[in-house]
Symmetry: C2
Subunit: 410 residues, 2 copies
């Protein structure tokens, strides 16, 4: 029954699945073997939320990325085996094959950039410039192959603006920014063991469920394409999660966050479901919006915003940003008042050297979770955050398949 559901992609999907299983076992075996060479290369971090201060190798996401790329290089010819076998000149579907190349080029660029960032601590301008450029080949391919830049408008707006709106260049800017957003959104929703990889695994599974639901629909080819990328991605991520789970034996590094973000952006763009993809990023979007006052320095932003270990209880507390009571600009004050109104922040006022100081918890979803649930053990905290991610994915599916009916006619 599954075979007939998947149609003529069933065999290639089975091969993709088999190769993903292989990639999983390869990753889970070689990650520990690379630990020493990462530490000798000065690529390590001290886990701030542990009593022991031992060196944990950093940036092991690069191993995942490399295994993923190798798997995809080997898999790429498979969906085209029929055409390759006959190889009639002029008959090869270059317009399909080009999707794979453009996608892997963008992903490879981001793995490279992420690793360079972990090694060299790049500046912000490099982190924004290279992803934008790396998505250029992707956008060219989209332009020549799909070039659908119109969005269907909700029923309520159609009297005003018509059935659909052709966004043109704005749509390309939106897609370019999607790549930058996905990569950085995962990167700033981090700080406790297993969270970066855990959230990526949940998002990846959600995308896979969505793809399998839609694989018989109108955009069949796009969803098959997405499945081919998501299965190996899930495999290497799950292997990394095994080693990165509390207590972390390895850290994933910016490399992994960039790799994951770009992989999601690539399938969303080329398979044309970027709005649904953003629905799976609800916690990340919330965390980003919540962080904005600190990211743009309206509120002072310490180097680390991760929660703080209470050495006596062994649990994690919120971390705070401290500043002189009158030093905050009007924009910063506005945000703090707004967040206070919605009960999102804890504000403490105390007297220190030279006057009054204000402390406000760092504006991250992680700290908010600690504010709601009280001090938690790290393992419990990350479990709650991942359950939240799953819960948000369920909401996303609800919006995608039910709420949509209010705004769109089937």
């Amino acid at each position: 029954m599954l075979l007939s559901y998947l149609g003529d992609s069933a065999l290639t999907m089975a091969i993709n699945f088999g190769m993903s299983v292989g990639a999983f076992f390869l990753c889970i075996n070689i990650i520990p073997k690379f630990k020493d060479s990462f530490i000798s290369a000065n690529l390590f971090g001290i886990d701030l939320n542990k009593q022991t201060k031992k060196k944990v190798p950093e940036a092991l996401g690069v191993v995942c990325g490399a295994v993923f790329l190798c798997t995809m290089f080997l898999f790429m010819p498979v969906p085209f085996y029929k055409q390759l076998a006959t190889n009639t000149p002029g008959k090869f579907p270059h317009h399909e094959y080009i999707h794979y190349l453009a996608a892997l080029l963008s992903i490879c660029c981001m793995v490279f950039l992420g690793f360079a960032d972990d090694v060299l601590n790049l500046k912000w301008r490099h982190k924004l410039l290279l992803p934008t450029l790396a998505s250029l080949p992707l956008l060219t391919v989209y332009f020549t192959n799909v070039n659908a830049t119109n969005i269907i408008l909700p029923i309520q707006l159609r009297d005003l603006l018509g059935y659909d709106l052709r966004l043109g260049p704005i749509y390309y800017i939106y897609m370019g920014m999607l790549a930058v957003f996905c990569t950085n959104a995962i990167n700033i929703y981090a700080g406790v063991n297993g969270l970066e990889v855990g959230q990526s695994c949940v998002i990846c599974l959600s995308v896979l469920v969505f793809n399998f639901l839609e694989v018989q629909g109108e955009h069949r080819l796009g969803h098959v394409f997405s499945i081919y990328f998501m299965m190996p991605f899930f495999a290497v991520s799950a292997a990394l999660l095994y080693h990165n789970w509390y207590p972390s034996g390895v850290f994933v590094g910016d490399t992994y966050c960039y790799f994951a973000g770009m992989t999601f952006a690539v399938v969303a763009i080329l398979s044309h479901f970027s709005k649904t993809m953003l629905l799976f990023f609800i916690p990340q979007v919330f965390n980003f919006l919540f962080s904005v006052p600190q990211l743009f320095h309206f509120v002072p932003c310490p180097r680390h915003r991760l929660p703080r270990l209470n050495h006596e209880t062994g649990k994690l507390d919120m971390s705070f940003s401290m500043y002189k009571a009158d030093s905050l600009g009007s924009v910063g004050q506005f945000f703090i008042k707004l967040f206070d109104f919605f009960k999102l922040v804890t504000i403490r006022r105390n007297v220190g050297d030279g006057g009054m100081y204000t402390e406000v918890n760092n504006l991250t979803l992680i700290n908010l979770a600690l504010r709601i649930f009280g001090p938690l053990h790290e393992k419990k905290l990350v479990t709650i955050l991942l359950v939240l991610q799953v819960f948000c994915s369920i909401i996303a599916f609800f919006i995608r398949y039910h709420l949509k009916k209010i705004f769109y006619d089937s």
Copy 2:
């Protein structure tokens, strides 16, 4: 006149040239700015051939590689501006555009691998596996677009074997190995300031001359494609050479060697002139063959084979490999006798602790140059080696355009 010679590619070539000039100035400016972050990241080396023992940042080739990739991402849509402007569905030349994507994917992979190697000191199996896999997309594109695997046989052999020989899969193995060879051949012909980048610049210029000579011929598109890659490559390499020239302010790292080698392999494969490309690699091929006994450990191979500084004269002497007189296997003995017969090695015998020892100069072209010309100042040595490279390119052109007539009819 030049305009009419280049035909309708003249405008895009001018744009490519302009972007290359931009890439040159960008590289020459930002390389020094990255020095400190490389040294803080533990990416530095001590120049063994200098009296001072200061830290020289290593692996700056990664900056070149990144600038090259960005330049090509921006340039890629340019050759297709007419088709992009009209964008008629189904009319876009995907089979041409796919060449650019496959080429950049392979190059990006190699820059990434090279950088990972510089940071993590990868093992040999990784260094052979990843380039082979990275050339897979390239070979698939070649298979679907060109798939010319026949070689025209020399006149002298035609009675025996026919006009041409269809190599089939062997040709693909040959192309896969070309990528591995080019990357490693440059990597092992190194050790004095400026040699890696200098030789790459000479090879690149030779390829450019060849492309411009052939641009009106039968394989016009291939040579235009090659020019689009070689001009920016020359630009970033020249900028790196400026900083890497004696006395080196920066080292280029494995990253650069891999980047350069893969770029050459890519244009040679996709533009179908791999035999001519190999002709431009004469010194590298010689150096590789000469090194074989040490690379495969028939003769003991010390960690560094570069020449040794004579602190009194300030000049470079040959470096030697020392071993117990009777410890060499029969294969090793054969090679040493063979090289001795051709006067390629200096052999010294002396008595040490516990018996007779044999010293033989390390089997590299650099040491051979020192054997022929005597001890040389480093700057003079590298100049001689680069002049040799130019001389070999002239021989290559002679073989390509004149000697060929003996074996092939026109």
